[in-house]
Symmetry: C2
Subunit: 345 residues, 2 copies
Amino acid sequence: MNKSKQPTIKEIAKRLKISTSTVSRALNDHPSIGLVTTMRVKKLADELNYEPNRTAIFFKQRKTFTIGVILPSLSEAFFSAAISEIENFANSKNYTVILGQSLDDPERELRIINTMKGHRVDGIILSSAKNTREFEYIEILRKAGIPIVFFDCVPDLPEINAIVSNLKTGMKEAIDTFVSCGHRNIAFINGPAHLPASKEREEAFTEALVSNKVPLNRDFVVYTDLSEKGNADAILQLINLSQRPSAVVSFNDYVTLDAMNAVRSKGLTVNQDIFFISYANYPIWKYMENPPMASIEQLPGKQGALAAEMLFDLIDRNVDLNTDDPIATEGQKIVLESKLVNQHV
Amino acid sequence: MNKSKQPTIKEIAKRLKISTSTVSRALNDHPSIGLVTTMRVKKLADELNYEPNRTAIFFKQRKTFTIGVILPSLSEAFFSAAISEIENFANSKNYTVILGQSLDDPERELRIINTMKGHRVDGIILSSAKNTREFEYIEILRKAGIPIVFFDCVPDLPEINAIVSNLKTGMKEAIDTFVSCGHRNIAFINGPAHLPASKEREEAFTEALVSNKVPLNRDFVVYTDLSEKGNADAILQLINLSQRPSAVVSFNDYVTLDAMNAVRSKGLTVNQDIFFISYANYPIWKYMENPPMASIEQLPGKQGALAAEMLFDLIDRNVDLNTDDPIATEGQKIVLESKLVNQHV
DNA sequence: CTGTTAGCGCCTTCAT
DNA sequence: ATGAAGGCGCTAACAG
């Protein structure tokens, strides 16, 4: 009976006996509309509780004012810090953020990307799943004209846009600190060898030892697949050496947590028999009785903000050219230095 | 020059020299379209890499196949568990989830709700910010025909849909456990008095003491605003009593973490001088050298799944009636029992 | 300054 | 079994 529903510009136009285009323009503060008309329109819109139908606008403008952010996990402190900043930046541009978590599963990751593409997001920020090896989606998104910015876990490809963290500076500081505390037997629990992040860490580790004139013991470099068991196995390998290390740098804080548990289970004491430093600066450390000696901070918030900024640059450029092959300027990378912080002990 | 772009049904129709309606129907497996035609259409669609323009569909169908989930924080373990299950459920229905974090700020919460409303989400799942006192948005969303399901932090109103956790069962078990371990001086750090969740916990605390014939000491009930300082102050109040408690139930795990730090700073030892049990079962406990004695599990995953299920019921009903005043059946509530788990010590 | 017209891509009566 | 036509709400040439 009553077709109540949401009021439209048509409704406003009818009541005011003017055309819909005038209403539309008035609502958007178009300069060429008379002040009085504009006021009348806005007043009525207010009274009617008018709200533009964004689905119509999205449709018409071929833009959704929405960006997608895909991360391995929403709950890791590193990522939630990044999310917050991305959201802030996006909101300040009146964009909405859609989040997805890949759970480090490449299939899931691809599915999320396709969903977001289906929803016509205007751009994507992605920290790739740890074991994604195929990056066809880059091509897919390129064809669809959806710009993408990587951060944190970045594929080793030339033509991509990314915020990357220089892992070396922090590693250098970590080793320097260990050495200055008298450690000579310094080990390294690295992540999966195929990851660029692992390669870079390992190079940095080797270089830092050299520059400190500490001989590199091959047995002191072990690997984990980042699973709980992998992490425990890695530290056990080190502990079981005839000469075990007194200091360990590990891939990240989650590795360190598992490693510490394993250390304790062997009757050893953290920060006494063995010391840790790892990447990430997990906020929970302040609640631990024996936290790592220090953390290598990677500034997730900053990375997120920069990623967002870069993405919006690309989106705006897209609009300007607003044509085929939009993403001409590919391959920009911004490097952020990691650094040692929180001397917890 | 080349209007490459995405193919549309029009394009397909032109190439096949049939009408767009036929293409549309074929693509949607409409029964009245001949098998051959259907095949031809689908084949060409495939070749052209056709993908329906969802923004057009959203617009046309007045549905976005998107639900909004708003939580105080995405990084709290409790919420990420809930998110995962909500996502799973939604994805199985081909819905997309958009997430928002209120950071316990009522203003921010309201803004997010309005944004989501603007994006025309089909429904919302909400764990309200701790200190939201005004719930006008319920009315706003009702008018907009957007169903809403609460969980975890649920306003104390009759006409809302919600998944609620029965906090009493877990509290009873917690007190029973303390008593059976010989504790008689049992204290309680409660959250803000205005929260339904606080009221329920306190009732449960009192009842459980009574049923265990332990006298209630008024000094043993203190409050925190859930800030780090508030948490520390609360436990210090207890510690500084002439007769201090030997066991403490606290509002949640985050309170306990701060309390434990404060305890240590006073030279006392957790799980020796003082024992804790709290709500939530934070996954980090297994990495702590002195975790709480046990946790009261609230099954966030289950709550999330139930909330999603309830929301989709409401959405489907909305479609069926597909009329004004859609949410006739308001006020269903599902209660989930909390229970004691993880005897960590 | 304002109105007219057209169309975004898709679905859906209503015909045939 | 298929086509023609209209419209969702909004914006944007193109006219005046």
